[in-house]
């Protein structure tokens, strides 16, 4: 088991012939991810990754002919919202959008379509997800992982890698590591992913990587307290010393009833019984103190 991606994942890479698409498709395949198709409109009939992955013009063909059930998008921002909608229309169940700088109003219009179709979107502007030993989808370097039973969810990209590395170095393997993306509008929230981990028999402990701004961490803390009171969980908040001004504006703060500051988030997490690390490298020790053993 694991969540979102695994041995059974049949992946289509949207934008497979682009610079990023090609490079990361190769990395994913080397890791063991089953890539069944690529899509680049106008390049249907060609093949990618040294000839062993068929390229289609449309996602629909990737589904009907290639049998794809999961998509990863490396399409540039101007075309990425449409790429998401195409995946949704083709019946893809799990869609990862790696693309950054998508205008937020575009995402406002895309999200109801994703939800109406019952699809799950991770991102945009996210690093993807890896279930160590099974499959990786996105851009997280494969070498840093170790198989195990810790579920990790993060709003950051590279900071996620840092923590995964620290966990693996300490002998603490992961069931699945998920980066949900740092954009104002993302397809899946902390709570969505924590819900998947709750239902995963192979996940015993949780790590949450947050950052200043918004109130997603506060929401996750409250959810954890209610739904997973006994699961060991450690968190980290980036931006304790960041100068103000990179936070959301006042109007955003009013909606959430939160200042978005690191301290408010840390207080909310600790009040929910979640230990908060001061450094990413401290996380393995805190997990051990919560009773999690290396494995």
């Amino acid at each position: 088991m694991s969540i979102l991606v695994g041995r059974d994942t049949r992946l289509v890479v949207q934008g497979i012939t682009g610079r990023e698409g090609t490079f990361h498709a190769q990395q994913m395949q080397e890791y063991g991810t089953r890539i069944v198709a690529g899509v680049t409109p106008g390049k249907g009939g060609q093949s990618a990754l040294g000839g062993n992955v068929p390229v289609y013009d449309t996602v629909r063909e990737a589904v009907t002919q290639g049998g794809a059930d999961t998509s990863v998008i490396y399409v540039p921002a101007a075309g990425a919202p449409d790429a998401i909608l195409e995946a949704v229309a083709a019946g893809i169940g799990t869609i990862f959008c790696i693309t950054e700088h998508i205008p937020v109003l575009d995402m406002l219009k895309v999200m109801p379509e994703v939800q109406a179709a019952g699809a799950r979107l991770i991102g945009p502007n996210c690093p993807g997800a890896t279930s160590p030993g099974q499959a990786k989808v996105g851009i997280i370097p494969g070498s840093i992982h170790r198989e195990g039973r810790i579920g990790l969810v993060s709003r950051s990209g590279t900071l996620t890698y840092e923590v995964v590395q620290a966990l693996s170095d300490a002998g603490m393997g992961q069931s699945t590591c998920v980066g949900i993306g740092g954009d104002p509008i993302v397809g899946s929230t902390f709570i969505d992913i924590l819900g998947l981990f709750r239902d995963d028999p192979d996940t015993d402990a949780l790590v949450l990587m947050g950052e200043i701004g918004g109130d997603a961490e506060e929401g996750a803390a409250a959810w954890k307290k209610e739904h997973l009171p006994d699961t060991p969980m450690v968190a980290f908040i980036a931006g304790r010393t960041a100068p103000p001004g990179r936070r959301m504006g006042h109007a955003g703060a009013i909606i959430s009833g939160s200042s978005g500051s690191a301290q408010d988030k840390i207080d909310a997490l600790e009040a929910a019984g979640i230990r908060v690390a001061e450094s990413p490298t401290e996380i393995p020790r805190l997990l051990q103190e919560c009773g999690v053993r290396p494995a």
């Binding site: 205008p103 109003l105 890698y161 104002p184 980036a238």
Partner: protein
Amino acid sequence: MKIQEADAKSLLVAQGLPVPPWAVARTATDARAAAERLFSAGAHQVVIKAQVLVGGRGKAGGVKLAADAAAAEEVAAAILGMDIKGITVRKVLVAPAADIVHEYYLSAVLDRAARRVLYMGSAEGGVEIEQVAEERPEAITYLHAHPHLGLQDFQARELCFAMGLGGHLKDFLRIAQGLYATMIAYDADLVEVNPLALVRETGADGMTVERLQALDAKITLDDSALHRHPGLEDLRDLDEEDPVDIEARAEGLSFIRLEGDIGCMVNGAGLAMTTMDLVKRAGGQPANFLDIGGGARADRVAAAMRLILADTSVRAILVNIFGGIARGDEVARGLVEARRQQARSVPMVVRIVGTNADLAAEILSGIEGIETAGSLDDAVDRAVAASRAKLAET
């Protein structure tokens, strides 16, 4: 991107919102001339408002009334050059002072959690809405616009009646819909009118009428969408920006200058903030926040290094790159290039891990002035030590 009140008003006018006339002046003489025009058009008083991209102008003394042109010049002279929250006032807005019956609040803002545009309306406008939200939350009406249909008429009516503006239903509907149209037209993530005022006006026939007008406007634009609105980039107020910020943006870098002496170059905002947090925790002071972004190539890395070195207080540089979409070898090549061009000798601690880290290590091995580090904690400690050693030299 934040834009000035005067520019925000122009965008609202373009969407059909009622905004009283205004002029922008950079000198007291120009402010006087603008005031003279307004007085001869029938204004009884004018208001002079500092144009700065920070809140609390009124409290800081940046908004003043003037009863005649001479007073307008005097007031403008006092406001121009004033420092408001660290920003020097370089422009003022001159507008007729409205005869205000009542002040309301109306805004449309992106609600991240709900993934909708949120409308907020209140009969308690003209004051900081944060204060109203805290003290009397029931005084604010909230509702979400439909993601495809926008603010529907029935919603605008609900808002209108809740705000006690039933007597001005038609005008209010036009204004409320206009806020949404403004968001869509310019990819704004906030459109705020505070105050939306009911003002008393005397018509040509001598009869007084009450009308709704947007007396202030605040708009922030989505940086990711600026490329599809070519004219909007011109509204960026370069007067209020550090030249370094302008250069950073041109290079596609996210850069914030800070007070310390350890220059930081990191990929990813979360990791960049974490690196700064750890530098402080280890007793050092970061000189900047710098996120070189995803997929940074060698030339962008070299540009980032130039920005860091342009800050003369930098005594050591910490490079922390965890390759994912960014490739270690590209970053390493950029660093070597930057080192070659570098005019002054600043010790550099480099940690590159992740994608193509092995290639990066090959490229960096044996380069003078570059110290490599394995773990994040080790890199931070070395950078802090290097900055201290450099300080001891001087």
